[in-house]
C-alpha cells in the first residue's frame, strides 16, 4: 500500500491521520504519515527528523491543526541548533474525526439545528427519551438518533467529548435538562447551550442548585438562553444563532451572546 492509499483509507474511515511533507529545503516532497497509535510510515530524510516531526504531528493532530513547522535536516529545533543548518520546512496536515454535536430534545428546533450543524461538518446525535419523537424519520439529517435518557448517554460516551464538541439542550423539560446539564458539565465538552427564556433559566438554576450544581465555574460554562442576540425567531434562525455562538466562543470574538444581555429573546 502506498502512503496515499493509507492516507485515503484513514480519511474515508474518519480515523485521525496526519501527513507531514517537506515543502522547502533539503528533501522536498519527502513524506511521513503519522497516526496516533502506531509507528509513522515513510521518511523525511533522517531518522531523528522523522522522530521529532512525528511527535509534533501527533500534537497537531490532537488539536486538529494544520500548518508549517521548521526543523534542521537532523531534526534540530532550537534556534541555536538551527543557526548553521539549512532549514527544512515541513507542512503538517491533520485530518481529525469531525467534531460531535449532541442535541437533547427531539423538537422542531432540533431538526433545524441538526441541519445547520451538518453544514458546519459536525457529526450530529439527537437524543430524547420519548420513542415517538426520537425517530429517524423526523431527523433524517442526523447521523444518529438515540432513544435514551441523558444520564446513560453521558455514562456511555461522555468521556469522548472534547473542546471541539458541542452539547445543545433544547428539551425545555426539567426531568431531562437537569441530568443533561449535569452530564455535560462532567465532560470536557467545549460548548454547552441550554434553551429557554431568561425566566426558565432562573428556575433551571434553582433546580440545578437542588441537584448540587452551583459552582460558579460550572454555571459559567452554560450558555443560556442559548444563541447569539441576533433577534432569531424561527427554528432555522435560532439554529444559525446557536451555531454562530459556538463559532464565536471558539474564536473568542466579541459577538453578543443572549446570555450576557437582557430583555426579550426574540426579534
Amino acid at each position: 500500500m502506498t502512503i496515499f492509499d493509507e492516507l485515503r483509507n484513514r480519511i474515508r474511515a474518519e480515523e485521525p491521520v496526519a501527513l507531514a511533507t517537506v515543502v522547502d529545503g533539503p528533501g522536498v516532497g519527502g513524506k511521513l504519515l503519522v497516526v496516533p497509535d502506531r509507528d509513522a510510515e515513510g521518511s523525511l530524510g533522517h531518522p531523528e527528523l522523522d522522530r521529532v516531526v512525528a511527535r509534533d504531528a501527533r500534537a497537531e493532530l490532537e488539536a486538529g491543526r494544520s500548518g508549517v513547522r521548521h526543523y534542521g535536516p537532523e531534526g534540530q529545533t532550537t534556534p541555536e541548533d538551527l543557526m548553521d543548518t539549512p532549514v527544512v520546512r515541513v507542512f503538517v496536515e491533520s485530518w481529525s474525526p469531525p467534531p460531535e454535536m449532541w442535541i437533547f430534545g427531539a423538537v422542531d428546533f432540533t431538526a433545524a439545528l441538526a441541519k445547520v450543524a451538518k453544514v458546519l461538518g459536525y457529526r450530529v446525535t439527537v437524543c430524547d427519551a420519548r420513542e415517538i419523537f426520537a425517530t429517524r424519520r423526523r431527523f433524517p439529517m442526523a447521523d444518529e438518533v438515540r432513544v435514551t435518557w441523558p444520564g446513560p448517554m453521558f455514562d456511555e460516551r461522555g468521556d469522548d467529548l472534547g473542546p471541539r464538541d458541542a452539547v445543545c439542550i433544547l428539551t425545555h423539560d426539567p426531568k431531562f435538562d437537569v441530568p443533561a446539564v449535569q452530564g455535560a458539565l462532567a465532560s470536557q465538552v467545549g460548548y454547552i447551550g441550554v434553551m429557554g427564556s431568561r425566566r426558565t433559566h432562573e428556575k433551571r438554576l434553582e433546580r440545578l442548585a437542588e441537584a448540587g450544581v452551583d459552582a460558579p465555574e460550572d454555571l459559567d460554562r452554560l450558555m443560556s438562553p442559548i444563541g447569539l442576540d441576533i433577534g432569531a425567531r424561527t427554528p432555522e434562525e435560532t439554529a444559525i444563532s446557536i451555531c454562530a455562538e459556538i463559532i464565536a466562543r471558539r474564536t473568542g470574538r466579541p459577538a453578543a451572546p443572549l446570555r450576557d444581555g437582557e430583555g426579550a429573546i426574540h426579534g
Binding site: 502506498t2 502512503i3 496515499f4 492516507l7 485515503r8 480519511i11 474515508r12 511533507t21 515543502v23 522547502d24 522536498v28 516532497g29 513524506k31 494544520s66 500548518g67 508549517v68 520546512r89 507542512f91 496536515e93 491533520s94 485530518w95
Partner: protein
C-alpha cells in the same frame, strides 16, 4: 483533500498522472485555510479549489509545468506586495502559499 478522493481514485485507476496543490500557509485575509486542495490531471481535468477562484487558473499552469518536468515541485506564493503589483493576486488582499507536487506517492 477529502472531497478530491473519489476523483483522485478514478484518475489513479485510469493510470493518469496528476499533480496536487495544497494551501500550506495564509497571511492576512485568505479565503481558504491550510489544507484546501486542488488537483490537475496531465490531460487537463481540474478538481477542487484553493481560493475563491482568484488563483486557480495560475495553479493549473504551475501544476502542468511540474507534470511536464519544466519546474520542480515546491512552494508557489500568490498575493500582492509592493514589488509584485502585476502578480496574480487575491481579491481579499491576503497572501497564500501553496505546495504543488506530482501525486506519485
Amino acid at each position: 483533500m477529502k472531497e478530491l478522493l473519489d476523483d483522485l481514485d478514478r484518475w489513479r485507476a485510469d493510470g493518469k498522472r496528476m499533480a496536487v496543490a495544497r494551501v500550506v500557509d495564509v497571511e492576512g485575509s485568505g479565503p481558504r485555510g491550510p489544507g484546501a486542495a486542488m488537483a490537475v490531471s496531465l490531460d487537463g481535468e481540474v478538481i477542487g479549489s484553493v481560493s475563491g477562484g482568484c488563483v486557480e487558473g495560475a495553479v493549473v499552469t504551475e501544476a502542468l509545468s511540474i507534470l511536464h518536468g519544466e519546474r520542480e515541485p515546491g512552494i508557489v506564493t500568490f498575493g500582492y506586495s509592493d514589488d509584485e503589483a502585476f502578480a496574480v493576486g487575491l481579491t481579499c488582499g491576503g497572501t497564500i502559499r501553496l505546495f504543488i507536487e506530482e501525486l506519485d506517492w
